[in-house]
């Protein structure tokens, strides 16, 4: 339908700007507004000489007491001017490749100015925030990878949320009963089963894929809440998973900032990075990847070339579900470390948005996930600073970011051509 609407609008604006130019101008206007906001709202409202102290080390780090002190007012003013400059550069409609980069740089600078404003006159643990950015990104990235695995073969997976929730439940219960590895295995199996269920409904019965996904979400929510109320409330010992130790990587973990950000985590976090790289290599450098992509783009041609479309779809959707299971295990065993009703709280859908934001690419998903993790982490840390914005509004941030993202901040994204279409073999 987008294509149709676009045709309608192009008919109206025949001799106007190309879409890229229009985007560049739009981004320019937005950046100028953002810059002015930083300049007047942050810069001029901070008292002169007030310092913002960013702590760069955690208590567990080898190198202690690193910090970065800036004059909050001067910093915000300079940042405001830079963002306005970026915006003006966009208005000239040159170097169109740089539109997204300038947008990203603009937002990063904006976040820094915001933090300087929020932390003016006090201390703020920058490294703590960056570390939790990575942790909070894990489920989002894994959700995005799940969606990507399915959509690359043409199956829309709205049920990521349910797959995460159900596998978190299975992981917590099995881990409490039999230990961490059983929990992880159980979570991955449950995720895979729900993946199979989605594929079965979508491929065998041609059920509308979005409805099939919604059903998975309902089933997962209903069943886990029911079992949580009927079983976990009764047998508390089943809701106490074993603690998972962090694997601190020698030497690398001692690097200031980067060390605590990336090299001092549970195996789940490393697993996420491995998955991103593995799926990237798999999709673009192996026969499996070529087949998967061809099934997602043009199933009929793939079928003609002798590829079993149904088998490829089943396999990838099940694999996607297993990846979601891994994410659910992280959520239940490491991040929250117990099961709570509806503990996913929409994160599966944020993962879906991250997949779109990342343009159906594994590294794109990683980048998008980190952006969401950052938004969430800022929200959590700023809530502690108590700056007068009600916490409910801060809590809205990740969801609003998602809306802005899917509304096309990143410009045109192109899903796989056969996404969401059932394939009926002739």
């Amino acid at each position: 339908m987008t294509a149709v609407l676009e045709r309608q609008t192009t008919l109206e604006h025949k001799n106007r700007l190309t879409p890229e130019e229009r985007r560049s101008v739009g981004v320019g206007v937005a950046l100028i507004a953002l810059g002015l906001f930083v300049f007047f709202f942050f810069g001029l409202r901070i008292d002169a000489g007030e310092q913002a102290t960013f702590n760069l080390s955690l208590q567990t780090d080898r190198f202690q007491d690193l910090s970065w002190v800036v004059d909050a007012r001067a910093f915000s003013l300079v940042v405001g001017v830079i963002i306005v400059g970026l915006g003006i550069w966009r208005l000239t409609r040159r170097a169109l490749r740089w539109t997204n980069v300038s947008l990203a740089v603009g937002f990063a600078l904006f976040s820094m100015a915001f933090l300087a404003w929020a932390a003016a006159g006090s201390q703020f643990s920058l490294v703590g925030m960056l570390r939790s950015t990575v942790i909070l990104a894990v489920v989002v990235v894994i959700g995005a990878l799940t969606g990507l695995m399915c959509e690359r073969v043409g199956v829309i997976n709205i049920g990521i949320e349910g797959q995460l929730l159900a596998s978190a439940f299975a992981g917590v219960v099995l881990s409490s009963a039999f230990g961490t590895w059983a929990g992880l295995a159980g979570a991955v199996i449950v995720g895979g089963l729900l993946g199979w269920f989605l594929a079965w409904l979508a491929i065998r019965f041609h059920v509308d894929q979005i409805i099939a996904g919604v059903v998975i979400n309902f089933l997962a929510l209903g069943l886990t809440s029911l079992m949580s109320a009927r079983i976990l409330a009764d047998v508390q010992s089943l809701n106490a998973p074993a603690r998972i130790p962090a694997w601190r990587i020698p030497l690398l973990a001692d690097i200031p900032v980067v060390g605590s950000m990336f090299f001092d985590h549970t195996f789940f976090v490393y697993g996420m990075f491995v998955l991103v790289v593995a799926i990237h290599l798999g999709l673009f450098y192996t026969r499996w990847g070529l087949r998967s992509r061809s099934v997602g783009e043009h199933p009929k041609a793939a079928d003609t070339a002798g590829i079993n479309v149904y088998r490829v779809r089943y396999r990838n959707v099940i694999l996607g579900g297993m990846i979601a299971g891994f994410g659910g295990a992280f959520l239940g065993l490491a991040q929250v470390a117990r099961f709570e009703e509806d503990m996913t709280g929409g994160i599966g859908f944020i993962g879906l948005a991250a997949m779109i934001f990342g343009k159906w690419l594994p590294f794109g998903a990683l980048g998008a996930g980190l952006v969401f993790g950052f938004a969430r982490s800022v929200q959590q840390k700023v809530a502690i600073l108590n700056i007068g914005i009600p916490s409910e509004f801060l809590l809205m941030i990740p969801y609003i970011v998602t809306i802005i993202v899917v509304a096309g901040v990143v410009g045109r994204t192109r899903p796989p051509a056969a996404d969401g279409q059932p394939y009926i073999k002739q």
């Binding site: 919604v214 929510l221 709280g345 096309g408």
Partner: protein, 411 residues
């Protein structure tokens, strides 16, 4: 949905039906009910779906019976007996809670009221090819607007009730319209935007109910001050039963949606857009406007559903979860009712019974009302995959399977 030109149905679609109504009557029935095939065909799959959902629900009750499992090692027969008794107790409570007394029937109708309205909201979206998961958020915003009017405007009763509902219509409609506008202008998929707006609305309500504009003076509970008498929806059968004129509003809305979708030009264009956006564009329809308008209508209906949960829910102090799971139940309902207003009405009454019964099941048998969510999910599966039901019960294959309801990302 497939009845755009009503005369286009192949005649042999009726071949295996023994008694055919006259062709005039058939057309009439089709218009009124949205049922293309015979009544038997139309009812068989939903009825079997509900039956299957009840069976699976029974299995779930048995499997999650912790006490019975503890007994299993010593005396498996007694344990099995206890499980079956658990099912009997639960389903008995479910049935009695839905139909067992005048109060139970009142509860069923009361529960059905917002379900019907929200179900209509989803159904209108389905008919235009949009999947509105945002009824929850639209209910929140609409309901909150009604509360604001209730607390800050002073009017005589009839006017006050109407003005509050109007506020719910406008605000709920705008909240839904945002999604339509985003879809039309940027192609942002409505499934994601509506879900995100649900969260935003929920946080907004959470915040608003802690502000002096809504709180009772001197209280710091996160809930609104009690709504004044003049804005409450009056009860129909006396104060002791909760069913109120919201039910009449819901029924009126059913007829309004029927008129809108099947009798007005706008509704024709809505359905045409759902049927084929490409064709609608070439027929000169303004698809951007239609998408926004239909989401406005959808959001407005959900907004009224929200207002019945604030203006109509004793004790009339509004808490932050007044929308409950109605926004999601509405999806199952719209599917069960095949997106037709009258279908939604019956499905709404059925789900009202299921949920009202589920509440008394939770109280009497300790089976959490979450079981109803599972049953709804199963009903959706079976309705959306009629072939599955036919395979299980070895029925004959139907002539026409329902078409794809929603569109992918690219649409």
């Amino acid at each position: 949905m497939t009845e755009l030109p009503p005369d286009n149905q192949p005649d042999d679609a009726m071949a295996d039906v023994p008694e055919q109504p006259s062709s005039e009557g058939r057309k009439m029935m089709r218009r009124m009910t949205g049922v293309d095939e015979s009544w038997r065909q139309a009812l068989v799959v939903p009825a079997l779906s509900i039956l299957l959902a009840l069976i699976v629900g029974a299995v779930i009750i048995m499997v999650t019976d912790v006490d019975a499992w503890r007994l299993m090692r010593e005396d498996p027969v007694a344990a099995l007996g206890e499980m079956l008794e658990g099912v009997w107790v639960a389903y008995r409570a479910l049935f009695l809670g839905a139909f067992g007394s005048v109060r139970a029937i009142s509860e069923t109708l009361f529960t059905a009221t917002p379900l019907i309205l929200a179900g209509l909201a989803v159904a209108v979206g389905f008919q235009t090819g949009l999947f509105n998961i945002g009824a929850r958020g639209q209910m929140f915003m609409g309901g909150l607007a009604a509360v604001w009017v209730g607390l800050h405007v002073e009017l005589p009763a009839v006017l006050h009730v109407s003005l509050a509902i109007l506020a719910a219509i406008v605000v709920g409609g705008i909240w839904g319209g945002i999604t339509g506008l985003l879809k039309a202008r940027t192609g942002a998929h409505e499934v994601i935007t509506t879900i995100m707006l649900n969260f935003v609305a929920a946080f907004f309500v959470l915040w608003a109910l802690k502000t002096p504009a809504f709180q009772e003076e001197g209280s710091n509970l996160p809930q609104s001050a009690p709504l004044p008498e003049s804005v409450r929806l009056p009860a129909i059968f006396g104060e002791q039963y909760r069913v109120n004129i919201g039910l009449l509003i819901a029924i009126a809305a059913v007829f309004f949606v029927y008129w809108l979708m099947y009798r007005s030009t706008l509704g024709f264009e809505f359905r045409a857009t759902g049927f084929s956006p490409t064709a609608s564009v070439y027929a000169g329809m303004n698809v951007s406007f239609l998408l926004t308008a239909v989401m406005f209508v959808s959001g407005a209906l959900a907004g009224v559903a929200g207002s019945t949960m604030t203006q109509g829910l004793p004790p009339y102090t509004v808490t932050s979860n007044f929308a409950g799971t109605i926004g999601f139940d509405a999806i199952a309902l719209a599917l069960l009712g095949r997106s037709h207003p009258f279908g939604v009405l019956w499905a709404g009454l059925l789900f009202g019974a299921l949920i009202a019964g589920g509440r008394s099941m939770q109280a009497a048998a300790g089976v959490s009302v979450d079981l109803v969510i599972v049953m709804q999910a199963l009903i959706i599966v079976f309705i959306a995959a009629p072939e599955l039901v036919r395979t299980i019960f070895r029925l004959k294959k139907a002539k026409a399977e329902p078409a794809q309801l929603t569109k992918g990302w690219g649409g």
